[in-house]
């Protein structure tokens, strides 16, 4: 009876084992074999079933020294390679159908296989851009630095215990709620001067010029870790460097395609993450009490001790401009905000066209003085030239240079009426559809117009219209409002017009708390505080009736603006056919570009 039952059991087991072998072969391309090899496949359990590398190691090391373990991501199988055939055979006999650590405490099914699955990336390779400098500091230096990291001494807001570890910040606080630093609020406690020798050493050993202004100290007890993450692009510059002290640890780098590279961060080593490894790979530490580490004699296990890491970073001024756009919060923010065309039309109507109609008279009264560099451009045309001013407003440029023909156009009939009253030639149109013949003008200006268009596509369309009506060799001058109103230590006129901004070296940055949601389109736009630096690119700018205090009940007029980042205008024009960029410059708070049709 017993013999029969065990025979039946073996039959059933083999049947099941054969089935799972097929699955392994299909999933990994590794061939199973009946003859004994050094390599065993676990056919019915893997990462997806909750089998951990630790448990595999623990269970298989009993039968002899191990060479490699491979947990296949997303699959229900794993591979173990022994140093000898004998160990592998012993493990097979003791584990196959007997060790109940598969899902639901079922026994593991094993099979000998012909080869070990190799990653596309060799396990000794590093993620591109990653550099590990071992023995970067001496034991004495390590002890000195560790003394800085005593967490017990001062409990303040910059110190805290996260779920998985203790942290402390210097220079700037890294806020885990917003995944960024508050760049406007540096901490009073800067990076301790005792760390400075590290930059010199980086320079000497790796030719790396790096002077960080932010330090995060992490303290990991055995069993603690940090979830896989990419340091927020817009928060810090490239590179990020991290010093490991107290204990070694394995950090895992992962890429979207599933490639995982474990990197052993030895005690006293310096890790430099830059380029792809900084921007496109996640890094994390699995919370466990030991690491399995490849050595010359095979895999060994190393118990973790208390590890303290010093991560040095430099806070990024402005936005990130990396090429890893899918991982880049700056890119996604800039592009996610892009206003759709149908909303753009409504937005421009309500927050540009209608507003100018309402404020035209007062607007005209405050727009007398032509900008000198624009006048210089108009004066550069020879007698008899034809110049169109697209978005002419009250026509302040139509009165310049009597030797050329100037025609203006604007979408505001009230402003065109002002031109008419001044005996200036102008008509009403939209700058996206100029009712002018192709190649009909020698020059065209677009001063403070394109920033009123609500998305990139429309802004580009406006530039293409200018190009269309230009003759060959004709020139266009475009001015748009700059996000940065504070260049080369000089405040723009716009900022200087507020008396409070005239004195003192630095502007007080103001945070916009108001924002208006345009309900029909579900767009929320911040309201800009006049005479301050811009905090956002797409904003509503209040029009204030000069000299008069706003009375309660007075209507506040808000105009839509897209203020331009440095290089944005140039970037738009760079790839346009049939034009060349003659000049690109900053003029009194505006980004300006001079184009020539070729």
């Amino acid at each position: 009876m017993d013999g029969n039952r065990s025979k039946n059991y073996e039959k059933k087991l083999n049947k099941k084992a054969k089935r799972s072998q097929h699955i392994v072969e299909k999933q990994t391309g590794i061939r199973c074999t009946d003859s004994v090899t050094q390599i065993l496949a676990i056919c019915n359990s893997g990462l997806v079933n909750g089998l951990s590398e630790d448990l595999v190691f623990e269970s298989f090391i009993k039968y002899g020294p191990l060479e490699k373990i491979k947990m296949v991501p997303g699959k229900s199988c794993a591979f173990v390679s022994y140093k000898s055939l004998e160990s592998a055979a012993l493990a097979y006999n003791n584990i196959h159908g007997k060790l109940n650590i598969a899902q639901d405490n079922k026994p593991l099914h094993l099979s000998f296989v012909e080869s070990f699955p190799e990653d596309l990336i060799n396990k000794y390779d590093m993620p591109p851009g990653l550099l590990l400098l071992e023995n970067f500091i001496s034991e004495e230096e390590e002890n000195r630095l560790l003394q800085l990291a005593s967490f017990d001494a001062d409990i303040e807001s910059t110190t805290g215990t996260l779920k998985h570890r203790q942290v402390k910040h210097y220079g700037y606080e890294f806020r885990y709620d917003i995944n960024n630093v508050d760049k406007e609020k540096p901490l009073s406690q800067e990076i301790p001067p005792d760390c400075s020798f590290l930059w010199k050493r980086l320079q000497e050993t790796s030719n790396l010029f790096f002077e960080p202004d932010q330090l995060t100290i992490n303290k990991y007890k055995p069993g603690q870790g940090i979830p896989p993450h990419i340091d927020t692009h817009s928060a810090f510059e490239d590179p990020i460097v991290s010093l490991s002290m107290g204990s070694s640890i394995v950090m895992e780098f992962r890429q979207d395609n599933g490639s995982t590279i474990p990197v052993l961060l030895k005690q006293r080593s310096m890790l430099i993450m830059s380029g792809e490894s900084r921007y496109n790979w996640t890094h994390g530490i699995t919370p466990r009490k030991m690491d399995i580490i490849p050595t010359e004699t095979g895999l060994t296990v190393e118990q973790r001790g208390i590890r303290v890491s010093f991560t040095f970073r430099k806070v990024l001024k402005g936005e990130c401009s990396c090429n890893y756009v899918n991982k880049c919060d700056s890119f996604l923010r800039a592009n996610g905000r892009e206003i759709q065309s149908h909303s753009a039309v409504k937005l421009e109507k309500s927050y540009v066209h209608d507003i100018y109609e309402n404020i035209a008279d007062h607007f005209s009264d405050t727009r007398h003085k032509p900008w000198p560099n624009v006048v210089g451009f108009i004066d550069s045309f020879e007698a008899g030239s034809v110049l169109l001013d697209v978005g002419c407003g009250n026509g302040k440029y139509l009165a310049c240079n009597q030797q050329i023909l100037k025609i203006g156009c604007d979408s505001s009939s009230s402003l065109v009426n002002v031109c008419r009253q001044r005996s200036l030639e102008a008509y009403i149109c939209n700058c996206l559809h100029l009712p002018f013949k192709d190649q009909s003008v020698d020059g065209v200006i677009s001063i403070a117009v394109i920033h009123h268009l609500a998305n990139t596509e429309r802004r580009l369309q406006a530039i293409k219209e200018l190009r269309r009506i230009l003759k060959l060799g004709g020139r266009a001058l475009i001015y748009v409002w700059a996000k940065d109103q504070y260049k080369d230590e000089q405040k723009s006129t716009y900022l200087k017009q507020d008396r409070r901004n005239r004195k003192g070296k630095h502007l007080t940055p103001q945070t916009n708390t108001d924002s208006i949601t345009i309900t029909e389109n579900n767009i929320s736009l911040p309201v800009h505080t006049n005479r301050t630096q811009f905090q956002h690119q797409d904003v509503l700018v209040p029009w204030k009736l000069k000299q008069e205090k706003l009375q309660e009940g007075d209507k506040l007029f808000l105009r839509f603006y897209h203020v331009f980042e440095k290089g944005e205008l140039e970037e738009m024009c760079k790839d346009l056919d049939n034009v060349e960029i003659v000049k690109s410059y900053y003029d009194e708070g505006n980004w300006c570009i001079l184009l020539k049709k070729i």
Binding site: E382, A383, G384, I404, S423, E425, I428, P435, K437, S440
Partner: protein, 124 residues
């Protein structure tokens, strides 16, 4: 609206319109207003003008007078000719009326001397 402006306007931005030039003028009210005469400016401007279109436009509003329909040779030195051209190009002013797209018949109003060339979203 001066005739020099008309000389450059089109309705080609409209959906379905290929050339949209020249626009027909249906004038209700036309005036002339004196503009300083600058012979050099006018003689340099003339090559940039579609002369046939200018003459037809002038004729349609009743101000062609004795302006030659063909450009004369050496007009740069013919002050009399330049004065006539000056008058038609810069002094004739359409105050009220309409501009009409030659392909679709779409009318663009001219009020107080200002043509309104705005198009609706469904026209572009």
């Amino acid at each position: 609206m001066k005739l020099i402006t008309h000389n450059m306007l089109t309705s080609k931005c409209m959906k379905g319109v290929t050339v949209g030039y020249p626009l027909k003028i249906q004038a209700v009210d036309v005036k002339t207003s004196e503009v300083d005469f600058n012979p050099e400016f006018i003689s340099r401007l003339i090559p940039k003008v579609d002369w046939n279109v200018l003459c037809e436009a002038a004729e349609s509003v009743g101000f062609l007078d004795d302006l030659p329909r063909e450009l004369i040779e050496n007009y740069e030195n013919d002050v009399d000719f330049l004065k006539k051209a000056h008058r038609v190009l810069l002094e004739v002013d359409i105050i009220n009326g309409e501009l009409v797209c030659p392909e679709t018949g779409r009318k663009f109003p001219i009020n107080n001397g200002i043509p309104n060339m705005l198009l609706n979203e469904d026209e572009v």
